[in-house]
Subunit: 226 residues, 2 copies
DNA sequence: CGGCAAATTGAGGTAGATCAATGTCGGTGG
DNA sequence: CCACCGACATTGATCTACCTCAATTTGCCG
């Protein structure tokens, strides 16, 4: 398990655009993986619930939301995927997708055949290790999501969320989504989200950067976390 | 992927007490898997958050809760494991456990070395398939948990939960837990859970079977679901 | 300029939290 | 055997955070 540390698809290698397990698209194709690069516009649907699951999608840029429709019809965003994450990993173990994947910004992905990837994982230890890592990331994120954004008072949820959405490159910036989406992520109504955000602005913890309220500058990260 | 259908550790084979991938404990030992059967009393802790993750636990009887402590100290039950489920599967991809596993009833488990199991998965296609299935079950359960029990009004959450906890053998019976645990599962306070349950009793949908309020008989499953 | 989409803001209502008292069961010791 | 105690569930009364409904604002685009 030790070499699992060395593989990290979320940190693209310099000059080597790795898709999975430190392998490039060309190397994967040489190993019989059917693979294509695709782009989705904001709002585009990668796959829907119950659809035949034959591909998994490695995200290289943009952001994707996983939406689950509850038994009573409500829609809940159960996870958010960014570069390095995998959408539709259940294709490795199931015939159908469990939820709907929708691009929340424009997104670039590598689409790979699940069956050929599965077959490769039996031959390549590196691929197997990385797939296990992907499963693990998905599961950990799912549990985090429940514990951090779906418990406690509304203001802490929103603060946690603002912190989670910080840019990797510039941690003083954070970009959010439509208030409705944010509500579906945290189990709140859109008005509540809006009120909490303006409260944070008035308290001087964040500063709005654009007119739509999508980008904020983080002024006091310490008080946000506390 | 087609043979994934044939393997189902949650349905124990007649006379063959399979642990994983249709294999018995003896067969797994013959394949170099370190494996032991263990029992835990109610309230016992299998492992805790951050603890070194070297084993995975296949549950054969009883029930185990996965507890995550949020950043603000609150404790949240993020999933419930029953016979056939796996606790600590993250040992296959991580050095430490992500959450705490506590037996909620007396529980029997097979404890297996994660590293030897990982090595075996590279040799045996059946084992690999079954492990992927286990990952998938865990992930799907996590998403279900969020969508079904942690969204919507309190009464629907409780009704869903009562239905989910039905006995496999006798679907007219359901057994619940302490009101505090139930609250931690559904994001409600214990008083609220109690009130919702008595409301269901008064409405004639369920009937209490014991003094502690752990077992109920389901009278009207249709109205419970609707 | 006018119309649309999204965010903000306000006022009022309600579901669920909180605080607190009571009830019930099971165990323990006199 | 009975009195007492602790753990847990229930029930009640109030309070409040969030929802709901509605009006207003802002920026965008034809």
């Amino acid at each position: 398990m030790s070499n699992a540390r060395k593989l990290n698809a979320s940190e693209p290698q310099a000059q080597r655009h790795c898709v999975l397990a430190n392998l490039t698209a060309e190397e994967l194709r040489a190993m019989q993986i059917q693979l294509e690069e695709r782009c989705w516009p904001a709002g585009g649907t990668l796959y829907t619930t119950g659809e035949w699951a034959d591909s998994i999608y490695v995200i290289t840029s943009g952001m994707v939301k996983l939406v689950r429709t509850c038994s009573d019809g409500r829609q809940r965003i159960v996870r958010l995927l960014r570069a390095g994450d995998v959408a539709g990993i259940e294709a490795l173990a199931s015939d159908t997708y469990d939820n709907e994947a929708v691009a929340i910004t424009g997104a670039r992905v590598y689409r790979m055949s699940a069956s050929s990837l599965y077959a490769l994982s039996a031959r390549s230890n590196d691929v197997l290790t990385d797939l296990m890592r992907k499963w693990h990331m998905a599961l950990r994120d799912a549990d985090d999501w429940l514990a951090e954004f779906n418990a406690g008072p509304a203001d802490t949820r929103v603060r946690q969320f603002v912190l989670r959405m910080r840019h990797a490159t510039d941690p003083t910036l954070t970009t959010l989504f439509s208030r409705e989406d944010m509500g579906a992520m945290m189990g709140l109504k859109l008005e509540t989200v809006s009120r909490q955000l303006t409260a944070l602005v008035r308290a001087g913890l964040i500063q709005r950067q654009d007119s739509l309220g999508r980008t904020y500058r983080i002024v006091d990260a310490v008080r946000l976390g506390g």
